[in-house]
C-alpha cells in the first residue's frame, strides 16, 4: 500500500488542538496500512506549526505557503491536498472532522475520485473504519474500496498526541497555481471566550429552552467558571437567541465527550443526545421527571433550575474553596 498523508490544522503559528487528535488518528491508520507517514500544513506562514509537527515521529512534514492561502478556503486548499497526495504516493488522506475538515475532505475526495469515510471513531483495518450514524444510535463499519481513501476522524474519539521529540524533515512544496474558483473569504464573526473550547473541556454545562431567557445563562456561566468548564446549549436555546449558535451540542452542533456533562433544562431529544452521550458522567437537572434525558443520565435531579443552580453554585464554591 501507499503512504499516509494527514492534513494538520494550524492557527497563529501553532498546531490547533484538533491537529493533535489528527496525529493520534494518523498513528492508528499508519499502523494499519504501513508506508510513509507524512504531515501537511497549508497557510501563509506555517513555519512555527511545522516545527512543532516535526516532533511527532512522522517521516516528513510538508508545507505549502503563499499569501493567498492565509484564510482557509475549500476551493484553494482541496486541490493542494489532492495534488500533494498524488505526488507523494499517498493512498490514505485524512485529518480531523472539524468544521474545516468537514468542508475540505469531501472536496478532496471528489478531486481524487476516492471514497470518504467521514467522522470515524475507530480504525479497524487499513480500509475499514467504524463510525456513528443515525444520531449516534448505530455503529457502522465502512470499507473504502477505491484505490485512494479519504478519512476524517472525530476529534473526541482520538486523544491528543504527545510529541516524541524526534525531528522529522520539513520540506516546502510549491503552492502552484492558486485559483479560488469564484470563492472569497469575507470575515469570521467570532466571540472571544475565556472558557475552554466545548470540544476540549473536561466539564461541559449546557442549558436548554427551559432556561427561558439568555440572561439566565449567566447562572450557568458562573458555574462554568468555578469548574473551569465550557458552556453548551441545545438547539432550542440557540435558535431562541439565548446563546450564540456555536455553543450548540448535538448531531448538528458540536460532539462533546467530557468527563462530566451537566444538562440543565434540556429535554433530551435524540439530536441533542447524539452530541453528548459519549460523556463519561451525565447529570440532568430538569423539572419534569419524565424528561427523556433522565433515561441516560447517571445522576438525575428533578428540580427547577431556579432553585438548583444557585444551590449548585454555592456548593461548588464551598468544595473548591472559592
Amino acid at each position: 500500500m501507499g503512504n499516509v498523508l494527514i492534513y494538520l490544522e494550524q492557527a497563529e503559528g501553532a498546531l490547533r488542538p484538533a491537529a493533535l487528535s489528527a496525529i493520534t488518528f494518523a498513528r492508528a491508520v499508519h499502523k494499519a496500512q504501513g508506508g510513509k507517514l507524512l504531515f501537511l500544513l497549508i497557510g501563509d506562514n506555517v513555519k512555527g506549526a511545522a516545527a512543532q509537527a516535526a516532533t511527532f515521529g512522522a517521516d516528513g512534514v510538508l508545507t505549502v505557503e503563499a499569501p493567498a492561502l492565509q484564510h482557509y478556503l475549500a476551493e484553494t486548499y482541496a486541490p493542494i491536498v489532492a495534488r500533494v497526495a498524488k505526488e507523494q504516493g499517498a493512498t490514505l488522506v485524512g485529518g480531523t472532522s472539524t468544521a474545516v475538515g468537514k468542508d475540505l475532505f469531501p472536496r478532496v475526495a471528489g478531486l481524487l475520485d476516492a471514497g470518504l469515510a467521514p467522522d470515524i471513531s475507530a480504525v479497524l483495518a487499513a480500509r475499514q473504519f467504524r463510525r456513528a450514524t443515525n444520531a449516534g444510535n448505530v455503529y457502522q463499519t465502512l470499507e473504502i474500496t477505491s484505490p485512494a481513501a479519504v478519512v476524517s476522524a472525530r476529534q473526541t474519539e482520538f486523544s491528543r498526541a504527545a510529541a516524541i521529540g524526534s525531528n522529522s524533515p520539513v520540506s516546502a512544496v510549491a503552492p502552484g497555481n492558486i485559483d479560488a474558483q469564484g470563492a472569497e473569504f469575507v470575515e469570521l464573526q467570532t466571540q472571544k471566550r475565556d472558557r475552554p473550547d466545548l470540544t476540549e473541556a473536561r466539564i461541559v454545562v449546557s442549558g436548554g429552552r427551559g432556561m427561558k431567557d439568555g440572561k439566565n445563562f449567566a447562572q450557568i456561566e458562573q458555574i462554568c467558571d468555578v469548574l473551569g468548564a465550557a458552556m453548551g446549549a441545545s438547539r432550542a436555546a440557540c435558535d431562541a437567541g439565548m446563546v450564540p449558535n456555536d455553543l450548540q451540542v448535538g448531531q448538528t452542533g458540536k460532539v462533546v465527550a467530557p468527563d462530566l456533562y451537566i444538562a440543565v433544562a434540556i429535554s433530551g431529544a435524540i439530536q441533542h443526545l447524539a452530541g453528548m452521550k459519549g460523556s463519561k458522567v451525565i447529570v440532568a437537572i430538569n423539572k419534569d421527571a419524565e424528561a427523556p434525558i433522565f433515561q441516560l443520565a447517571d445522576y438525575g435531579l428533578v428540580m427547577q433550575w431556579e432553585k438548583a443552580l444557585p444551590e449548585l453554585l454555592s456548593e461548588l464554591k464551598r468544595i473548591k474553596g472559592a
Binding site: A99, G115, L116, T133, E143, Q251, Q295
Partner: protein, 273 residues
C-alpha cells in the same frame, strides 16, 4: 434564478432502530424527507419569490432525488411546498454511495445548468456530510457549506453566505453557479435575502406547510424519471457498509434528592469534581 434542490428520503429519526442480522431493518420505517433537504427546499422558495401573498415567483426550483419509486411521495411533498418540478433517478438506497450520488447529480447539473445547487448539509440517517462538497469538486464550482444565511449580491451574480463554523459564523462570498449546503438556521425568519423581497420581510420560523391548494397543484407537476445507466453513471460502490450494530445502551442512573447530595456523589462516587 434557476435552482436545483437535492432531496433524500430517510427513515423517521424518532423511530426506534431495529437490526436484522447486522443490517438495519427498515421494513417498518416511516420514510420522510431529510429535514435538511426540506430546509433547502424552503430556502430555494425564499430565494425565488417576493414575500407577497400570493408570492410572485421569479426563477424555478427543481427537486431531484435518487431512490426507489416510493420517493415520489417525498418529491410530491416538496412540489406541494411550491417547487416547480421534480426528477427521480431510480436506485435502491443500498446501491448508492456518495460517489454515485454526486456523479449522478453532476450529470443533472451539466444537463440542466442551474445557477445554484441547494442541498442539505447532511443526510440525518447516514450522516455523510459528503455529497455537496464532492459535487462542487466535480463541477469545479465554489461551495458554501453549513449555510445559516444567504444573501443575493452583485445583481444576482453572487451569494454572501453565513456559514456555521466551529468558532462562530464565517461569511463567504461565492460567485454563481455554486453549491450551497444548508444548516438548521437557514429557516430562521430573515435568513434568506434575495434582493427583491422587502429587506425587513420576515417569514414564519421553519419550513412552510403545504397548503391544500399546493397539494392539489403538486399532483399535476411533472416528475421526470431517469436511470443511472441512462445517465451513464457507473454503479460500482466505492464505500461499502459491512455491518451495523447498536452501541451499548447507557443505563439510566439514579435520581438524587438534593443538590448537596449530587455534589457529594460527583465527588466521592463518580470522582469527576
Amino acid at each position: 434564478m434557476k435552482i436545483l434542490v437535492t432531496a433524500k428520503r430517510i427513515p423517521d429519526p424518532g423511530q426506534k432502530i431495529k437490526l436484522k442480522g447486522n443490517a438495519l431493518d427498515l421494513s417498518a420505517a416511516n420514510w420522510q424527507l431529510n429535514q435538511f433537504d426540506e430546509y433547502a427546499v424552503e430556502a430555494a422558495l425564499r430565494l425565488t419569490e417576493d414575500g407577497a401573498a400570493p408570492a410572485t415567483r421569479q426563477g424555478a426550483v427543481t427537486v431531484a432525488s435518487l431512490g426507489p419509486a416510493d420517493v415520489q411521495q417525498q418529491l410530491r411533498s416538496a412540489l406541494a411546498m411550491g417547487a416547480d418540478k421534480a426528477i427521480r433517478v431510480e436506485a435502491k438506497d443500498e446501491e448508492l454511495d456518495a460517489v454515485i450520488v454526486a456523479k449522478t447529480l453532476e450529470k443533472l447539473v451539466r444537463r440542466d445548468q442551474p445557477d445554484l445547487v441547494l442541498m442539505g448539509k447532511l443526510a440525518a440517517d447516514n450522516e455523510g456530510n459528503d455529497v455537496g462538497q464532492r459535487l462542487a469538486a466535480l463541477l469545479g464550482w465554489p461551495q458554501a457549506t453549513f449555510a445559516c444565511s444567504i444573501q443575493v449580491v452583485d445583481g444576482g451574480k453572487a451569494l454572501l453566505v453565513g456559514r456555521e463554523v466551529d468558532n462562530g459564523v464565517e461569511i463567504k462570498k461565492v460567485r454563481l453557479p455554486a453549491v450551497v449546503t444548508v444548516d438548521l438556521r437557514i429557516i430562521a425568519p430573515q435568513a434568506v435575502k434575495n434582493g427583491r423581497t422587502a429587506a425587513n420581510f420576515a417569514y414564519p420560523e421553519g419550513p412552510r406547510y403545504a397548503s391544500l391548494k399546493g397539494i392539489r397543484a403538486a399532483k399535476d407537476k411533472p416528475i421526470e424519471a431517469l436511470t443511472l445507466s441512462g445517465l451513464g453513471v457507473s454503479t460500482a460502490l466505492q464505500v461499502k457498509t459491512h455491518g451495523s450494530e447498536l452501541p451499548p445502551a447507557r443505563q439510566a442512573g439514579k435520581k438524587i434528592a438534593s443538590v448537596h447530595e449530587l455534589v457529594e456523589k460527583l465527588r466521592s462516587e463518580a470522582k469527576v469534581l
